[in-house]
Point group: C2
Chain length 233, copies 2
DNA sequence: TCAAAAGTGTTCCAATTACACCCATGC
DNA sequence: GCATGGGTGTAATTGGAACACTTTTGA
């Protein structure tokens, strides 16, 4: 890039806030985690940031998000949705970058596949260090959207595997909303909204009554995104 | 622009879906209208499209939206919010354009100031012709967002002037939602959610009991956009 | 038999809805 | 008066929250 001479071009990037459910740092109850990547060039060299990159000429915005997730963290999300376009002129020192940010949910088994290292690491979503650019604010907004959306849609399923117990599903809600939920009422709500399919299997081995395994009806969309449709990702 | 040789650059545009409330075409009850501009160059030359234009180097996304509204239709919206970023590679024949779309609400007096002509015209929001690009789909999504948001926020005020009667506010809701609302319950709901301030004035001249005029408490945000805040526009 | 979580039943409370009714004005 | 919309009152319905209770397993 030419130094001094202002090129006045606007760069277009696609980044993604990835959520996964993992045990708390002390080994306790499930908690929201986010994988971040270390910046290897200026600005903000060495600081942690959202995974992202330039949009290529012939890929859609969602394709760019998926490609980048695969490249940087090897993750393939079960749910992906556009979050917001951030374009403040001052958000990247020295140049002008408009970032179209997506947010994604991956389930725990996927999350464990991420090779942590010097440049990729998981962080507890509510205890982040100072990140590059405006990424702390972006994650705050993604968390807000997630916490809103989990109350009126079925996205929580995307953080679990193929089958799950109602306890597990409830603990997903509890981890996201950071409050305990009455098991009885939770069960009825889930059964009422539909999309839950009881399987024949139960989980044995616990020292209590074996819970039934459920799966998610794939014919029902996880979230109603209106005219954008389920492929709005 | 160089013909034939693919430059592979991605253009970044900002467009806006503008809503205003005006009498129905037959002179009847208030209806949602949208101003569109005629395209004066290829592609889609001669067809109607959303007002918009290139993002400039030193303006924010919302500033670009406001500037363009002012330039093309002379409107200054009371409410402005980002809708979505549309970036399908096929959405603009011949080149690659990512459009960051905003949606806006203007009140009726403002709307009447728009100079309609060969290249600017109002259309009933639910009866649009075939528009340029993917703009029909974009407006469908904006309508969906508007209809959702009017039920859990106070944005309806932005379609009215400084003061208004509860009847007028109710007819805004009815126009957006396309169903009739019980006046008694509507009144209580509005009073309960707060933000409404009764003035001393009433409207005389009707052949019935004069309704009280209300105004909107400016200290209360029209919509809760979370960490993005009220200046998320 | 006991502990623990699964799962069911019931009560209470708040919000929404439907609709009856009174009020104030112009004609 | 009486028609018209403004404005108030109230009962019925709904959905959620709280919590008691029964069931089924492992130890």
């Amino acid at each position: 890039m030419v130094q001094g001479a202002q090129r006045e071009t606007i760069d277009l990037a696609v980044s993604t806030v990835i959520f996964a459910l993992r045990p708390a740092p002390d080994g306790g109850s499930p908690t929201l985690w986010i994988p971040l990547v270390r910046r290897i060039r200026q600005p903000y060299e060495g600081q942690w940031a959202l995974p992202g990159g330039r949009l290529r000429y012939s890929e859609s915005l969602a394709e760019a998000a998926r490609r980048n997730l695969k490249e940087t963290t090897d993750l393939e999300p079960k749910y992906l949705e556009q979050l917001y376009a951030f374009g403040d002129p001052e958000r990247s020192p020295g140049d002008r970058v408009v970032s179209i940010v997506y947010w994604a949910l991956v389930h725990a088994e996927q999350a464990d596949r991420v090779a942590e290292g010097e440049n990729v690491r998981w962080f507890v979503a509510d205890e982040l260090p100072d990140l590059a650019f405006d990424h702390n604010g972006i994650i705050d907004y993604a968390l807000w959207r997630l916490r809103n959306k989990v109350e009126y849609s079925r996205i929580a399923h995307a953080l679990l595997g193929e089958t799950f117990t109602l306890s597990q599903l409830r603990s997903v809600h509890e981890a996201i909303l950071r409050r305990s939920i009455d098991p009885a009422n939770f069960r009825r709500q889930m059964e009422a909204t539909g999309g839950l399919v009881a399987t024949e299997a139960v989980v044995t081995g616990g020292r209590h009554r074996p819970p039934r395994l459920y799966r998610y009806d794939e014919d029902v969309d996880m979230a109603d995104n209106g005219p954008l449709g389920p492929r709005a990702s």
